[in-house]
Amino acid sequence: MKLFCITFLLTFFSTAYLHAQDFEYGKITGSDVELKNTRLDSTANAMVIKEFGTASVQLDNATGKTYIDFEYHVRIKIFNKEGFNHGNIVIPLRIYRDGEDEIKELKATTINFTDGKLVTTELDKKKVFTEKRNKYVSLTKFTMPNLMDGSIIEYSYRMSLPSVFNFKTWEFQSDIPKLHSEYIANIPAMYNYNVSLRGVQKFAKQNAELKRECLSINGTKIDCSKMTYIMKDVPALIEEDYMTAPSNFKSAIYYELSDYVLMNGGKKSITKTWKDVDYELVSEKAFGDQMKRKDVFKELLPQIIGNASDDLSKAKAIYTYIGKNIKMNGFIGMYSETNIKTALEKHSGNTGDINLALIAALSAANLDAEAVILSTRANGVVNNLYPVISDFDYVVAKVNIGDQSYLLDASQPLLPFGLLPLQCINGNGRVINLKKPSYWYDLKASQKESTKYILDGELTSDGKLKGKLTTYSSGYAALKKRQRIVAANSVDEYVEKLDEQMPGISILKHSIENVDSLDNQLVEIYEIEMKVFDNLNADQSYFNPFFIDRISKNPFNLNERTYPVDLGAANEERISMIIKLPANISVADKPKDMSLALADNGGKYLTSTAMQDDSFIFNQVLQFNKPIYDSEDYLSLKEFYSRIIQVQKTDIVFKKTK
């Protein structure tokens, strides 16, 4: 993952003339017609020949408001039928509280080269559809006519975006390769954006020049910096399994307004330093103001806290109360969608409402509570160099009790106190305190995902294995099981389903402890019976001890890897069994004892089998100590799993002695 920034200074313009401009619409060249996917990527079904975009800030004279004017033009070659879906175009448009993105001057053409002639088919304007998807997004959709193998499609449009806060993002990389992608951003001198570039692709050209008097506001002429970025031969971004958000890796340029100059010469800072951000967040109506609303909980507190006396019990009581009283409405966010009072009354809010309410309630009980803003895994990583507030999409609570800190998310049910949901475990979060400066905080899972199986059993002379299987689960392992129990409605139905899923094993009795005490590990105790052999009369019998959570498939079966492997969380599984054998049975052969380790303490796999008196004892440990492994580690992970699969194919050989 590379994340670096481009800094540019208005005083340091290159004066060299750079040839960069839009290409002529519909003017197809011989090389466009001849282009094959032997160039750049032989697996490509479609390829962008040229793509050009330009964005600038404009003034709407009617309303006096500024907006972003964005022009887009692309020419794509479709190599074969598999690429036809790139002829179905969907352009998302944002809907804001006081306006929406608008699209105009849309034209689209399919160009085919048949019988030595270029034949063009224009898109029928009546076949452009607008679909209002929901309250935030509408979609402009159309499909290119007359597609065939080798078609060239070309379309262009102009878009106006009322929000100047985020200058138009440009993605140099997409799911098909691009021969040429070019973006010109005309940024008025009065605006200063933080610019960040993601991905590993390099610019073929990059240039900044001064453009005089590009914008006029109230008669004042303003200069612009004209930034040109060109990438060539950009490979497609292919998603892989176990991949963190693709947006972390996609080569693209992002902007966030940092400050702008007022007409009177003063400077209005938007986001500049963390100090400014702190001030803004703390005084923001949908953030700091909500954290401060102790009044909402003043009267409720005695009832919530009950007879809890120490701070930890108080915090736990408040955490449980908020979790039970405000349900997540399906939207995530770091800001309060309504306000915490309404959310509490309506029992419904986004994640911002819920966790800001939690912080306010904790503070109301005189606990030291802070907010931690973070970016969820799906949203990508945050920029650590300077504040890019739009990188963050989530807020959780941090409560400090004694010398311990606990991270809390009350919007997700069934989490133990102090454990964040997996989607929040993503690099650093920024702690926002109402009184102190903000600081970075490493977001780590407070508990390992861990499962431990203990089987105490007996192999009877009629070939059955009977015994008691006890499973201890904690961290995310317990969370997943509790979620399944809730989905099954009751412990009995959960066990019934479990039993039905394992036709070879019957569960005779069961008890599950700590289903509702989330802070303790979940303990499942099953009395099981399983038919291993029809009888034990043969001279030799083969028994596979790897029947609990057996690994039969290698999750890393491919030969190469481009991006890091994201397993989510470190995890550990232990299995130990003691099985008493009938008197006339002894062990003739057994799987090799294993001791495998991944480099840098990345993980290990241990097995051992031994006889002790009339019982055999089997132990297995499987550990992954890192949530994310480098792409270079892929082959070792593959080999690691492969060795596990190999040993799990081997048996214990029982021999009849009498």
């Binding site: 039928k81 598999e82 559809f129 959709k141 006519p145 597609l147 065939m148 409605n489 079966n557 090799k592």
Partner: protein, 635 residues
């Protein structure tokens, strides 16, 4: 696809306004039998369809449902689909606690409005208004009343006595009101008794009632729920739909209307195209050859794009328009192909089908417009009726595949509608035949060659692999053969697209460390490529056992083993014969050659509920044999 029009789950409940006498919805009053396995209970529901005029049909739903737990939430949400021909007149409701005491209310302004278009479509005009309550404590009761106006009466939504399988029903009533002289056709499915009919000078009303229906447990290998659920279908004879009018009382008349009103007028082609088609088939002797030529022309020229607006849910685009833009949905592409065939003098039939891998037929006894979701083309050649799937760019000529085979469809023709049966891809014909010859070395590595033919319904097994670039195919093949350390080379995928199409793969492969060893024992799973999983047990099975599709798999693997290996243990030869199918494995060692033969036949069919235990046992036996290992000993 045809429009998923009005897939409205009708849910309602009776209450007489908020202020008047309110039934007691205390949770205590629910009979305990209705709480068993139920996530929610419909306490009282009343659905009324008042057909005031063909273009003015009022649906009124009143519903009181008690949500018992989190999983019952889906029954608490209200989802109302609408479009230009369907307007929502009102929707409101109240929420009650476990004691039946009101705690809140809501109205249409609290609903979210979203697009309800299918993902496979470019555009549809379908929209949805939805309301999902936020109640924290279970159980609670939610009461709705909403009213919808349909500006058409071609499709009257079906009424189901139990709208969700995990929801039990205390009381559910359906009333259909029409004018005394309206001709209405009605069919009840699995309804005991007959409706109450009330007639006055102005109105006729029919009422169906059910009481105390338990929730149903989901069971694997179960038949289509429409085989056992109670529901009512209604079709008025005189109808109107987006300005189109007509009448029908049977499939013959419905098919005639579809052809005359929706299809016939969309088939005009320019003389140029007609000439082009005649040039295309010049020199071909039989109609079959000509039809094939034209089908391949359409496949090469067009692609599937779904756009569904208004009458366009049922009416194809103009054939000339498809010709111009080279795309269309199933209706448009069938209509286009039919028009091109007509241009060279070949007659063909526009057929409405319910397309799904799960077979579903038109109801022979009850004609209605909502039973299909897809269109295919039938070419009735002499003694050789040929069926065409026009949305596919690579289906063989005459091959329907498992999406539309073996079911009754409606052919819409000039003479009227006819019910036809599509061909069956039988258990025997749906064959996978695989041969592999492998060499095992002393390190447990394997290398060898493999050849597989897929036919019948299995022809499409590699649909997502074929046509991809080779590097992508090799990646996808690892999902088909998900074996640790497997690697492929020399992959060849071919398709024979004649009247009995076959997909073939041939490849070389290696599997490192396939057969691990302990001291002097080597363990090897014989069935490397085709393992069957066991299926769940089901206690107290209630529904019949249904196997939708039968198939036959034959695998032969020859292993050449190293010198000095002898067999210490091997899976026993096995032959299982059961009504569900058969399973045979044979393991034979001759010199250094170990031959493994496996044949697995699963028959399609329906079997009594009490045979499930045997059915499960059959799979369980197959699965355990499939995982059988051979144990070699070295000298």
């Amino acid at each position: 696809m045809l429009k998923r029009l009005l897939v409205l789950i009708l849910i309602a409940a009776a209450f007489n306004g908020y202020t008047q006498e309110q039934p007691d919805y205390n949770v205590e009053n629910i009979p305990s039998a209705l709480k068993s396995r139920a996530n929610a209970v419909i306490r009282n529901m009343e659905t009324t369809v008042d057909m005031r005029a063909p273009e003015n049909v009022i649906l009124n739903v009143k519903k009181a449902v008690t949500i018992l737990n989190k999983n019952g939430e889906q029954a608490a949400g209200l989802y109302i689909f609408y479009n230009k021909a369907t307007s929502i007149k009102s929707a409101k409701g109240i929420i009650m606690d476990a004691f039946g005491k009101p705690t809140g209310k809501f109205s249409l302004s609290n609903f979210l409005d979203e697009s309800a278009a299918n993902d496979f479509s470019l555009f549809e005009d379908a929209r949805i208004k939805k309301y999902v309550p936020n109640v924290l404590a279970y159980p609670y009761t939610i009461i709705y009343e909403y009213e919808i106006r349909y500006k058409q009466n071609l499709i009257i939504p079906d009424w189901y006595a139990t709208p969700y399988s995990d929801v039990s029903v205390e009381k559910n009533t359906y009333t259909f009101i029409s004018k005394p002289d309206d001709k209405i056709r009605v069919k009840e499915y699995n309804y005991k008794g007959s409706p109450e009919v009330e007639k006055t000078d102005k109105l006729t009303s029919r009422t169906w009632k059910v009481n105390n229906l338990s929730a149903l447990k989901r069971e694997p290998y179960a038949p289509d729920p429409d085989n056992y659920l109670t529901y009512v279908k209604i079709a008025p004879e005189q109808f109107t739909y987006y300005g189109h009018k007509g009448n029908y009382s049977n499939w013959q008349e419905l098919g005639k209307w579809v052809y005359d009103d929706l299809v016939k007028t969309r088939q005009t082609l320019s003389p140029d195209i007609i000439q082009e088609m005649n040039d295309l088939v010049k020199g071909l002797d039989t109609d079959k050859e000509k039809a094939k030529k034209i089908y391949e022309y359409v496949q090469k020229k067009t692609r599937y794009i779904s756009v569904q607006i208004g009458i366009g849910g049922f009416q194809p685009f103009e054939a000339s328009e498809v010709h111009r833009v080279s795309y269309g949905d199933c209706k448009a592409l069938v209509n286009y192909t039919q028009s091109l065939l007509k241009a060279v003098g070949i007659n063909s039939l526009y057929c409405v089908v319910y397309g799904d891998s799960y077979k579903k037929s038109m109801d022979v006894d009850f004609a209605s417009m909502d039973q299909g979701n897809h269109i295919i083309l039938c070419v009735p050649l002499k003694n050789d009726t040929t069926w065409l799937e026009c949305t596919s760019q690579d289906s063989p000529f005459g091959y329907l595949g498992s999406f539309t085979d073996d079911r009754i469809v409606l052919a819409c023709t000039e003479e009227g509608g006819k019910l036809l049966k599509t061909p069956v891809l039988t258990t025997a014909a749906s064959l996978l035949k695989r041969k592999a010859e492998l060499n095992l070395d002393k390190d447990g590595n394997i290398n060898g060659k493999l050849q597989t033919n897929f036919s019948g319904s299995q022809y499409d097994n590699y649909r997502r692999i074929i046509g991809k670039p080779t590097s992508e195919q090799l990646k996808l093949l690892k999902e088909e053969y998900d074996i640790d350390n497997i690697d492929f080379s020399n992959l060849k995928l071919t398709q024979k697209k004649d009247s009995n199409p076959v997909t073939s793969e041939s490849l070389d492969f290696t599997i490192q460390k396939y057969a691990p060893r302990t001291n002097n024992r080597i363990y090897m799973v014989l069935n490397a490529f085709n393992k069957t999983n066991s299926i769940p047990e089901v206690r107290n099975r209630t529904l019949p056992v249904y196997v939708n599709r039968g198939f036959t798999d034959e695998d032969e693997i020859v292993y050449n083993v190293p010198d000095g290996y002898s067999i210490e243990a091997k899976p026993e030869d096995r032959e299982i014969k059961s009504p569900f199918g058969s399973y045979t494995i044979k393991v034979k060692m001759e010199g250094k050659k170990l031959t493994y033969n496996r044949k697995f036949v699963l028959n399609n069919g329906t079997y009594p509920a009490d045979t499930y235990e045997n059915f499960m046992r059959f799979f369980s036996d197959v699965s355990s044999s499939d995982n059988g290992k051979v144990v070699f000993k070295t000298d």
